[in-house]
């Protein structure tokens, strides 16, 4: 079926199959490399590597039918920087040293963006709950939480 949606601010239009996931379409047909799969064989382990924002709400793209993107706005990590400048959350992750292997980073940053856009603040408990659907197997989360806290303090709640 034919779907049209906005991907990182640009209009896209393409044919998708009923059983195709949004992940398959983003990665294989649209060249979006920030979305990843990790532990999905047979079930979902809630690792968060496939996270994208649909109309600003974080979802797992591997479980989302691609046709559901029709008429929606999809944001991936590629859509965050402006004019070659990194998004404040990207800068905060770099400054805090919150990236090790980098596999979880796109999902973490998108989830953090949704958290801050929704009015989330620097409270550590809230940050931990916000990233509960994202696994990191390197950092132990401390520096990721630091980065999100720094971005929250700098943004006054909403990061554009």
């Amino acid at each position: 079926m034919r779907v049209k949606f906005e991907l990182n601010g640009s209009a896209v239009e393409l044919d998708v199959e009923p059983w195709e996931s949004l992940f398959d379409v983003l990665r294989d047909k649209l060249g979006i490399r920030s979305v990843k799969t990790a532990l999905c064989e047979g079930s979902c382990s809630a690792c968060g590597a496939c996270t994208v924002l649909m109309d600003g709400r974080p979802i797992y793209s591997v479980m989302t039918p691609a046709y559901r993107a029709d008429g929606r706005s999809i944001t991936t990590l590629e859509g965050l920087s402006r004019g070659g400048e990194p998004h404040p959350l990207q800068s905060a992750f770099v400054e805090a040293g919150a990236v090790q292997c980098g596999f979880c980073t796109p999902g973490m940053i998108l989830m953090a963006k949704a958290f801050l856009d929704g009015g989330g603040g620097p409270d550590e408990r809230e940050i931990r709950e916000a990233i509960r659907g994202n696994l990191c197997r390197c950092t132990g989360y401390v520096k990721i939480i630091d980065a999100i806290r720094v971005a929250a303090e700098g943004s006054g709640g909403g990061v554009q």
Partner: protein, 289 residues
Amino acid sequence: MPSRVVIPRTPEEAIERLEALGGDAAIIAGGTMLFRLRNSGLLDHVGGLIDLSGLGLSYVKEGDGISIGSYASLSDVYRWASSSAARTRALGALADAVMSMPGWQIRNMATIGGSVSISMPQSDVATSLLALGARVRISGPSGERTVDLRDYMAGPLSPALRTGEFVREIVLGHPGGGSAHEKFVVSDIDHPIASASAHLALADDGAISSARIALGGGLRRHVVLDSPRVLVGRIPDEGTLDEVYGAVRDSVDPVDDFSASADYRRHLAGTMARRAIKRAYTRAGGSAI
């Protein structure tokens, strides 16, 4: 594998399409279960997906009772259930159940209708709704019918739906009182080994006037204890909770597998029920047990 998707815009169209496809139809709501199973072989017979997203069923309404559209996401249900002090007390089990699942991504996708339609005791949301006395309003070729949730959840992935039918809404009375959900899991992403939800209403003196306990997790089927004698009319103390523990242990039929023995699950079911009653009693306005 389905060759097409239909997104009906009216209930009549949905019923017509479901009837036309018959056993080849699969209803898709949030999609979290269907997309997980898509390579499992279980869905190879599915010829077409009937998608409920176009029917305007994302609402939560409060009138004579509470009606939750089947397509309402768990995150929207949670926000609604925690948006006033009275709801936080009465619907605490539902909010607890949603928040016991890891991550907003899943909560944004999974729907309340899907949570009951997978018809599995592992569903925390379904367990909480059983304790809250939920009913399921079904639309179909012969009109609407409303069934008790425990009758609707007939077996794993086999809800009591006839050809042409779909779930329109989940209906709750005005539960009042207080409720809570507790579960035991090995890790955040696992199914619960044992879970329990409790709903209690209290008389003015703090005695329990009505009670319902629902047990889920690794059981062969959900168990609902309606107005158990060990609770009704009593002001609960530790001794009461010991009796509940015993009654729950005896009422469940747990699975026995690599993650927990049947006996251990019986113990955990009793323990989760104790904890859920303790919290539900405080939420209902009782003093701490």
